[in-house]
């Protein structure tokens, strides 16, 4: 049985009438210990997809389940690493992680918890900064704290929502390697979302493109059989890497070319009706209520090919 399974899920937002469908026909199954990366354009519904798994968002149709149990709400068995780190700024590195650990391992002794926290801070190489506040750390360090916080909950699956996209290219490369190393040692299941095809192929066992049709849907998955640990310098000349990369990018680009976007245009008409001169009577002061408002909005659906 797969660890995570999504069947025929779809999701849209907004009220009826102005509704925009984000995801359609989502089918995904992830085995235990797998490192899956989902690649897609910005704004194509990647975060919504990962929130279906984390439980922050519920699918409109279809189902999402973990180990066969339907996902109804967020829980510590699915550790979510946020794009913007989401560390609580009034807590130190240690306290941020402690918040998670104290909640998940309530029955542990306090020494056990302390050791567990220290272990995870050390794992992301931040022991020297354990008592610093998030604002005293660089972006890369903050994201490492966020990863440590999530791993410290011992989740069954690690969900990463564009974890590195707010970082500069160099820090990004370093963290990619670090997270890949941690995965090699831990073998936790990872579902990683990114908009960078290179990053995807570099870290993943399996890459799934999120095709930017409207609503978006998952493409065919691409297995990455490049041996680990992968050397970031050597891999650039690896023919397999080049082939996968070309394949992935073509898939994404092609589906974008075919894509038709339906867009709702709001046409706001001029908001004032001309005054009816004949209706003005002698009680001018009372009866004149100023220009009449039309307050009308027309909806028009326009098809645009992107």
């Amino acid at each position: 049985m797969p660890l995570i399974e999504i069947k025929d899920a779809s999701k849209g937002f907004g009220l009826p009438g102005e509704r925009s469908e984000v995801l359609k026909n989502i089918n995904l199954s992830v085995e235990e210990g797998e490192f899956v990366v989902i690649v897609g354009y910005s704004g194509s519904g990647k975060s919504t997809l990962i929130n279906l798994i984390s439980g922050l968002v519920k699918p409109d149709t279809g189902s999402a389940s973990i180990e066969g149990n339907p996902i109804t709400e967020p829980g510590p068995d699915r550790g979510l690493v946020f794009q913007n780190y989401s560390l609580l700024p009034w807590l130190t590195v240690e306290e941020n992680i402690a918040l998670a650990v104290d909640e998940v391992f309530k029955d542990w002794s306090s020494e056990q918890r302390k050791a567990h926290i220290a272990k995870h801070i050390a794992m992301v190489k931040l022991s020297h900064a354990a008592h610093k506040l998030p604002k005293e750390l660089s972006g890369g360090m903050r994201q490492r704290v966020s990863v440590a916080r999530t791993l410290a909950m011992n989740p069954k699956v690690l969900l990463m929502d564009e974890p590195l996209s707010a970082l500069d290219a160099l820090t990004r490369a370093q963290l990619q390697d670090e997270i890949a190393d941690i995965w090699l040692n831990h073998k936790t299941t990872v579902i990683w979302i990114t908009n960078d095809p290179d990053e995807a192929i570099l870290v993943a066992d399996r890459v799934i493109p999120l095709l930017p049709t409207s609503p978006a849907t998952l493409g065919e998955s691409i297995a990455v059989n490049i041996p680990r640990p992968r050397d970031r310098k050597a891999i650039n000349h690896d023919p397999e890497f080049k082939r996968l990369r070309a394949h992935l990018i073509t898939t994404l680009l092609d589906s974008k070319g075919k894509n038709k976007v339906k867009s709702n245009l709001k046409l706001v008409l001029p908001d004032i009706l001309p005054e009816d001169v004949n209706s003005i009577n002698s009680f001018e002061f009372f009866s004149r209520k100023g220009p009449k408002r039309r307050n009308e909005v027309k909806h028009e659906e326009v098809e645009v090919s992107a």
Binding site: S54, L56, E73, P74, G75, P76, R78, G79, L80, F82, N84, S86, L88, P89, W90, L91, L99, A100, E103, V104, P134, K135, M153
Partner: protein, 294 residues
């Protein structure tokens, strides 16, 4: 360097100029007394003081200073129940304000949290709050008197230590000073970033823990802005409250001196109230700055 020196000099020099200009204007419209001697009907020589000016009863700056000197140079003296040093009066007012203000925070902050957390609560109570918010302290005080007419705490000697007027005073300060705390807390709670709430959800924090570990710290900066504004209002209200209840304090002193025709002391009181208000505001903004997170 030159620029900084000039800026600092200006920061001291310009306010002094402004104060002097105001004093000059004050002097110009104030009444000036002329003392003449004349023989009355009995043949005795008497002094006649005549005040003239745009506002004849307004004392000049110098007269104000002479009349107020004693109150300022002996700020803690107690010469009688209604004749005390200016800081002694201020202290009495501050104690009352502190009590009322404390009540306002204790009541206002939870209300703010409820408003921020629950849409239904907001829908239910927002109209009520918007209507009660602009009501003047002068209007609340009589209601307080009626509400707490039965309150009477008597000490061993049979003297009332806490009566209806004290309760009404506290009630008035609390209910007037509460609103900025309520509104700012509510806004702060609504402004808590969704990310933080998501963290709480993903970690499955209990309601209690979410409140104390996430919501309260995230709202603190807003709460303290509310607290600062509330303190300003509490200090505003004190004068009205003391005038109406006749409690001794800076506002009571002001009203009593007006009734006693000693107008110079009114100006002393106004200036004192202003300075204390300013100091309180500065103190609160220092505390507020300490609680700015992120």
């Amino acid at each position: 360097m030159h620029l900084i020196q000039r800026y600092k000099l200006d920061a001291i020099f310009l306010p002094i100029v402004a104060i002097l200009v105001c004093c000059l204007l004050w002097y110009l419209i104030a009444g000036k007394s002329t003392i003449t001697t004349k023989k009355d009907d009995w043949g005795d020589t008497v002094k006649v003081t005549k005040r003239e000016g745009i506002s004849a009863d307004l004392p000049t700056p110098v007269e104000t200073w002479t009349a107020s000197k004693l109150y300022i140079t002996e700020p803690f003296a107690k010469r009688g129940e209604l004749d005390q040093g200016i800081l002694r009066f201020t202290w009495m007012s501050l104690v009352l304000v502190a009590q009322g203000y404390f009540l306002a925070l204790v009541i206002g902050t939870p209300i703010g949290f409820f408003l921020g957390l629950s849409k239904k609560f907001t829908m239910a109570f927002d109209p009520l709050i918007q209507v009660l918010r602009p009501v003047s302290p002068l209007a609340w005080l009589p209601l307080g008197m009626i509400l707490f007419s039965g309150v009477k705490v008597v000490n061993g000697d049979g003297r009332t230590t806490f009566g209806a007027s004290d309760a009404a005073a506290l009630f008035t300060i609390a209910i007037c000073a509460m609103w900025p705390t309520v509104m700012n807390t509510a806004v702060g709670v609504r402004a808590v970033p969704q990310d933080y709430l998501n963290v709480a959800k993903v970690l499955k924090l209990s309601k209690n823990k979410t409140l104390w570990k996430v919501l309260v710290p995230a709202t603190l900066p807003y709460m303290f802005t509310g607290f600062r504004l509330s303190l300003g209002i509490a200090w505003l209200v004190i004068v009205a409250v003391e005038m109406l209840t006749g409690r001794p304090g800076i506002g009571g002193f002001l009203w009593q001196q007006y009734n006693a025709n000693s107008y110079a002391h009114i100006i002393l009181c106004i200036l004192t109230i202003g300075v204390i208000g300013y100091v309180l505001d500065r103190l609160m903004s220092v505390i507020e700055a300490r609680f700015k997170t992120a």
